[in-house]
């Protein structure tokens, strides 16, 4: 299990134990993390699983695909350098203790 910390915009943290290989959107919605919607179920269509990744660990993630980059341009909340779609981040041992912050809005 990989520990992922989901931080809401007010700074409240929920820590989930995510199975290796599960993406961070699935883990969030299955556990009822409110700030992640994931309307399309991870099909790279909706851009409603936007999150901000701990900037100090951004380089440990696989870089976003072109498709993800296109969708990131259209997220509802502010797009930042550390913006990612959580459906495209798969839990792995290397990401243990990663913090991601949910945005103010997904719509």
């Amino acid at each position: 299990m990989i520990r992922i910390h989901y931080v809401d915009p007010d700074g409240n943290t929920t820590t989930l134990n995510v199975p290796d290989g599960q993406n961070l959107m699935q883990a969030a919605v299955q556990n009822g993390i409110d700030g992640i919607v994931g309307e399309c179920g991870g099909s790279l269509v909706c851009a409603t699983c936007h999150c901000y990744v701990d900037p100090t660990r951004l380089s440990e993630l696989n870089p976003p695909t072109e498709e993800e980059l296109e969708l990131l341009e259209e997220v509802a909340a502010q797009r930042k350098d550390n913006s990612r779609l959580s459906c495209q981040i798969k839990a792995s041992a290397a990401l243990d203790n990663l913090s991601i912050t949910t945005p103010e809005t997904q719509y």
Partner: protein, 408 residues
Amino acid sequence: MENHIVIVGAGQAGLQAAETLRAEKYSGLITLLGDEPHPPYHRPPLSKDALKEKHFDSLTMRGPNVFERRKITMRTGCRVSAIHPNRQTVELENGESLSYSGLLLATGASPRLFPGQEPNAKTIHVLRSRGHSEAVAERLSLCQARQEPVVVIGGGFIGLEVAAVAREMGLEVTVLEAGNQLMGRVATPVLAKTFQQRHESRGVRIALNARVTHLSEADDRATIELADGQRLTAGLVVVAIGVAPNDTLAQEAGIVCNNGIVVDTYGRTSAPHVFAAGDCAARSNGNGHFLRLESIQNAIEQGKAAARSILGQSRPFHDTPYFWSDQFDMKLQIAGVAHAVTTSVVRGNTCDAAFSIYNYADERLVSVDTLNAPKEHIMARKMLSQEVWPTPEQAGDPEFDLAALMES
């Protein structure tokens, strides 16, 4: 009586409504009744990745602890046999009766069967539920092992998605479409042609105007007979000829139905305290037309709207409908509904990996099809909801800056 909202149907719309009720601070009881053995799950991957990856458990939308925490009673494997709007009760197949203060019908739709299709056949399947997808996935693997061909009846989204997966698995695939183009309900002819060419270039056989006259199964093989005398055999037949709304409970209770349970823009049916949302609901637009959509976006939007109506808040739904389909390396996305289209303008080149088509009803933009252009798709949704759009000439000019138009 304590407030008790009963939701029949634990799909996307039913789940959304239950969670919206809690988000809106409703504190009474909520019972979510699902007739499948599984709690709510993501349906779109069932005809796509899940057929290959078989990661069915990961499609579950909420863990059991979430229902508990949100005080939603989730009952799986639970069928409703009747609803009684005048007594405000729901009758379950096991004889139990539940009283409600508000009832939401989110019963979804059922795949149409080919006339005479045996529902328990081993080689002939429909594809809608997780159970169906598991059966199709298993059969695809068997076809792969035995080198047996696959036949898909129906060239819509589901049929073409299955065909693409089967072809990617190296199987021989034939798509039999009764109409004169693929995706006839949603695609303009130019888009349909492009998809046909791309499927064919990857080895999918496509027959248009193909009329299947008989389907049968013997010795673990299916036989398909066509009106022109052809006879095909296959290790798997997927029947993907559309769905019918599940409106029988409503009809039997005397609720007005018209290819779905008729609702107004607030999700209200013709019976007091009874609401409907999602694939089963046909929304009246007030001038004699009804729109019944089959999409995630519609299920979510109507689920939210119905939940708020149940609580007495009246907020009509407003979102732009959208749809998508993944076939080979093609991501097709449609914003809006192509109704009464008079002009279709291609932006880009249909030979390229990515292009889009702007569909107008007279001067009004009604829908935009994008292929492998997710950003433009989201822009198109904004165009339609904000009623700001390019003229057909601007849309067709690849130099014209759409983003600037939206910002102006």
